[in-house]
């Protein structure tokens, strides 16, 4: 038996205060890529009572994802959008979700994320990260963009930082640790970077714009 919507909101307000919770409830965040970063960002934001998430990924859950991404063994083979929506709905039953099982390209970005207030870049490939960043900064200057670069390997947790690059552009990560044949992604360090992104989103919503 899940709590009523009123009980749910009252619990969030008791934690965040009514004023901040109202801002969180009224915000839409687009999460571009639902891997180690995106699935963790989504869960953080859903728990924090964000009003709406736009979830975008073309991929399916693979057995090799499960060491760091927020999916379950029973979800292997499902589109990540569907699997994550199911998981988020169990965690935060009143969140509003919009999903797109498609590859984000320069041709469809604007229609996919148009209604978002804040955009999280959570891709795996450097080229896709740069493409989304360039597009949003160039064509959607009203939106906040929170991106990530450098979180692979067993480097120190403390090397992961959030930098404010310009007025509405934040970058999380250590900037250098990339995935290679010798270095792969480790769940805890990817989660730290995802938490940096999610926390930056929550700070922006709280009108705390510095890092």
């Amino acid at each position: 038996m899940i709590p009523s919507k009123e009980e749910w909101l009252a619990a969030l307000e008791s934690r965040h205060g009514a004023s901040l919770q109202k801002k969180l409830s009224n915000t839409t965040v687009a999460i571009c890529g639902l891997g180690g970063l995106g699935s963790n960002i989504a869960i953080s934001l859903a728990r924090a009572g964000i009003g709406k998430l736009i979830l975008i990924d073309y991929d399916h859950v693979d057995i090799t994802n499960l060491h760091r991404q927020q999916y379950k063994a029973t979800q292997i083979g499902m589109p990540k959008t569907k699997a994550l929506s199911d998981n988020l709905s169990e965690i935060a039953p009143y969140i509003s979700l919009e999903t797109y099982t498609t590859k984000i390209t320069e041709d469809n970005i604007s229609q996919l994320i148009n209604s978002a207030d804040i955009v999280c870049e959570a891709f795996d490939k450097a080229e896709a990260k740069a493409m989304l960043t360039n597009y949003v900064l160039e064509h959607m200057p009203d939106k906040y963009l929170v991106a990530a670069s450098g979180m692979a390997g067993l480097g120190s947790a403390n090397a992961i930082k959030t930098k404010k690059i310009s007025d509405k552009f934040y970058l999380c990560g250590d900037g250098v640790s990339e995935v290679s044949t010798e270095t792969s992604l480790v769940s805890s360090r990817v989660m730290i970077c995802a938490a940096h992104e999610a926390h930056t989103v929550i700070r922006i919503i709280s009108e705390l714009y510095d890092v």
Binding site: G33, G35, G36, L37, G38, A122, F123, D124, K125, A126, E127, K129, A130, T133, N134, L137, E138, A147, A148, S149, G150, M151, A152, I165, S166, D167, F169, L171, G175, V176, S177, E178, V179, L185, V190
Partner: protein, 91 residues
């Protein structure tokens, strides 16, 4: 006569200092926090001197994104503050 020579020498020394030290110093461009003497180069020309993969980067000058299609015609100017974000894979 001597005073005139002294005056000319002083003047040329001053202009030399102005040109080569004071002005030169202000014709620097800050790229990711480091001062570099690349005044007058286009972004494309500058990138050729670096190891950046053009497909992995986003560039802001004085807080404004530079569209990739304009790299070849965007000239780095005295006092510009340039941020080059170079993405690495993983997520």
């Amino acid at each position: 006569m001597d005073i005139k020579i002294l005056f000319e020498v002083t003047q040329s020394v001053t202009s030399f200092l102005l040109r080569n030290i004071i002005l030169e110093e202000t014709r620097m461009i800050k790229i990711n926090g480091t001062l570099e003497n690349v005044d007058g180069k286009t972004i494309t020309e500058y990138l050729k001197t670096t190891n950046y993969n053009p497909k992995h980067i986003a560039i802001e000058i004085n807080g404004k994104i530079v569209p990739k299609s304009t790299y070849h015609e965007t000239i780095l100017k005295d006092g510009d503050k340039v941020e080059i974000v170079s993405f690495v894979g993983g997520g």
